[in-house]
Symmetry: C2
Subunit: 272 residues, 2 copies
């Protein structure tokens, strides 16, 4: 699967819906490894409150997959993001893996720092940025932070968004998608601005997004793509904020392993 990136060619983003297998067949983590052969892989636990528990789990998983060169990145506070040693580690990385936790913990510590810029450059020079759960949500320009799940969605009250790290534009990610009943809040975001394509990723499932803006689905479950470009009506700004959301004319694609989606065309296809 791994093809050596040309010099100067941007690498891939591996955007994971959370709860990826870390001890069995590990289809998702294996993809990260195959796209950064031998490492180094940096496991960044900045989003997590239990970094010391998460780090050994990922170290062991990546070692089991044959990578010896795995390192831990964490910072206590924003000022630590200028640390020279940490920056040097990132500069030689072939992959950075952003764990789950809290999106805002990650972006408030990392956003706008030299460390964030160094991570972005890993991608720019052909490396992998992978992220799971909160680490998946932060990939986009605007990210979902909170919102009603497993319940009906109303016009304005239910969705909280914030600026993400901006590794990919024109889409918004949601994770743990089917498992936490999040279709409603993703529809609400797309209705607020149909410029954004909504991408809801199930657990133990990921998209592998390439420089040419195509992505493939990998893993056990599904990816929901919500396309609002042809919306004919919505009540986002007309109705009181406790009214139920109404959106006519959405396009929905349910994608699984073997499917590819072209973000330029806005169309899915089954790989031959």
């Amino acid at each position: 699967v791994a093809s050596k990136p040309k010099i100067g060619q941007r690498g891939v983003l591996v955007i994971i819906g959370g709860h990826e297998d870390k001890s069995g067949a590990m289809p998702v983590l294996r993809e990260v490894v195959e796209r950064s052969p031998g490492g180094p892989i940096i496991v960044a636990t900045l989003a997590s409150q239990v970094a010391d528990e998460l780090w050994p789990v990922y170290r062991n998983a990546f070692r089991k997959l044959g990578v010896r060169d795995v390192h831990h990145l964490d910072i206590e506070r924003r000022s630590d993001a200028a640390d020279r040693t940490k920056l040097r580690h990132i500069e030689r990385a072939r992959a950075v893996f952003l764990t789950g936790g809290d999106q805002l913990r990650l972006t408030s510590k990392l956003g706008g720092t030299s460390l964030a810029e160094a991570i972005r450059r890993v991608h720019e020079r052909g490396g992998v940025i992978a992220g799971t759960s909160a680490g998946a949500s932060v990939m986009s320009e605007t990210m979902l932070v909170a919102g009603a799940a497993g319940d009906s969605v109303h016009v304005r009250a239910d969705v909280r968004m914030a600026p993400g790290l901006g590794f990919v534009r024109d889409l918004v990610i949601d994770q743990h998608f089917a498992q936490r009943g999040r279709i409603g809040r993703l529809l609400a975001v797309v209705a607020q601005n149909p410029r954004l394509l909504g991408v809801g990723i199930d657990e133990n499932t990921a998209i592998v997004l390439h420089a040419d803006r195509r992505f493939q689905v990998i893993g056990k479950n599904a990816v929901y793509v919500v396309d609002g470009r042809n919306i004919t009506h919505s009540n986002v700004y007309e109705d009181p904020s406790d009214a139920a959301l109404s959106v006519h004319g959405l396009r929905l694609h349910l994608l699984a392993q073997g499917d590819e989606f072209d973000l330029n065309m806005g169309l899915p296809r089954r790989l031959p």
Copy 2:
């Protein structure tokens, strides 16, 4: 809201997503009352295992809404469905309300009996058939009985269907929709046969379906309409049954109070 049906004109179906308000403003039950002024309303608890608890709750709700003429219909076993007194009760009813419970308990006792035929005739001669939860699912020709909810959907294993009472054709109902995370299983049904329009109804929400095959949405939450007519690809019959479901090119409408859907055209519109 209530308009007197012309003689020979078919009445309405009020199809409710479960958990409708039975003590407060009661927007959904009020609709049933306004469309069958003064009654008699028959509360049919055939689907339920706790009929004796359900019946007084509905009797009190309908009385609160000003209907004195409310009756209870239940049968222990299929042979009771020929009972003359019960049939006479149905013959003079203006509305029959099917409570929640288990779809198969209802259809296995009622399907193909004179009692079922008498209920169908209430609708034929301009009356109301209302149903909530299991009582909503049974309205269609083919009904959803069980299926994975709040989780990813796979190609074949996750959905069980059975023949319904057939009061409305060309659609399939799901209920408690957002609350139980049921979008995946409804997509699976529509992918199996895109002739059927998928209609997922949230709790405390209903559709009011008229003889001209238009329905309006009433109540607090939303109705999801899944239109598979333009599906360009699905893996329903190709892939192993534990593969994640893939369906490209669905159309999705999220409807709320104030929206109407025309089943003939397959299109929603906002009421002026």
